[in-house]
């Protein structure tokens, strides 16, 4: 784990969010193209995690922890 003096930059810190968003968009996009899109399964469950993650990141004063 990095100390505060060696904190990775914004891009590195947010790699997990970027990766999940890419998977999210690709999967949902293909489901839309194949006419199998389902909001309840494809978007909402992981979407809630993405929203919670962003809210915590934005409201956290210290931003300690992983990434």
């Amino acid at each position: 784990m990095n100390s505060g003096n060696n904190r990775p930059n914004f891009f590195i810190r947010e790699i997990p969010l970027i990766v999940l968003l890419v998977f999210w968009v690709i999967y949902a996009g293909i489901e839309i193209i194949r006419d199998r899109f389902d909001l309840l399964t494809s978007v909402i469950p992981t979407g809630l995690f993405i929203i919670a993650y962003i809210v915590v990141r934005l409201t956290s004063k210290e931003q300690k922890g992983q990434g």
């Binding site: 590195i12 990766v19 890419v22 999210w24 999967y27 293909i30 489901e31 399964t41």
Partner: protein, 209 residues
């Protein structure tokens, strides 16, 4: 280029980004354990599941995947690693915990299980389109075009087993190389545990059905 081959390569590249993130934020020991152990787990487990007929679970669709190791698609070498890594990182950030540091580790693991079930919703809905998996049994409860409902339970259980084993092995007071080796070897325990976890769900739902 075939769409699904492109997806396989994208998944490998994105896993590379996660390995970079892990090495920078969690250290080299953790990263070797997590991603090498995850690769062993994926490789061995998926070959066992696909080839052992007695398990009566599933095999992978040869018409869809391009890159293989035995009876398992190459992508399964990184699949469990990247999904559980995302589950761990999102859960740690949301509950303000740290699994290895011991801060709120139970809440981190529980939320990681919920994340995995949520990710299963996304992934299995997508998987049912091609389909990626050929089911060998007729499940009692199904979702999305015949996908057994047990996949949500299965994903959650994998996070529980993987993260708990990782935590136990990481705390061993032995050299880094031995910790990595012990964690890789522990797949022989994790796989039966996970198959047992799935069997419990199948047994419970067949009783209901």
């Amino acid at each position: 280029m075939d769409t699904f081959l492109a997806l396989e390569l994208i998944a490998l590249a994105l896993t590379g980004l996660l390995i970079w993130h892990s090495a920078r934020t969690r250290g080299v020991t953790f990263t070797w354990m997590f991603f090498l152990g995850g690769a062993f787990l994926g490789l061995v487990r998926e070959n066992v599941v696909a080839q052992v007929a007695a398990l009566n679970l599933y095999s992978y669709n040869p018409a869809t995947f391009h890159l293989w190791i035995g009876a398992a698609p190459l992508i399964l070498m990184v699949f469990w690693s990247y999904t559980i890594y995302l589950a761990l990182t999102f859960s740690e950030v949301i509950v303000g915990g740290n699994l290895i540091g011991g801060k709120r580790k139970v809440r981190v693991i529980l939320l990681a299980m919920v994340f995995m079930a949520s990710y299963a919703c996304l992934n299995e809905a997508f998987a049912s389109i091609y389909p990626l998996v050929l089911w060998k049994f007729k499940p009692t409860l199904t979702i999305w075009g015949g996908t057994p409902a047990m996949v949500l339970w299965g994903y959650a259980g994998m996070a529980l087993i993987f993260l708990t084993t990782l935590l136990l092995v990481y705390k061993l007071r032995i050299r880094t190389i031995y910790r990595v080796m012990v964690f890789c070897a522990s797949v022989v325990v994790m796989i039966p545990l996970h198959l047992l976890w799935i069997a419990i769900f199948r047994l419970a739902t067949s009783a209901i059905g």
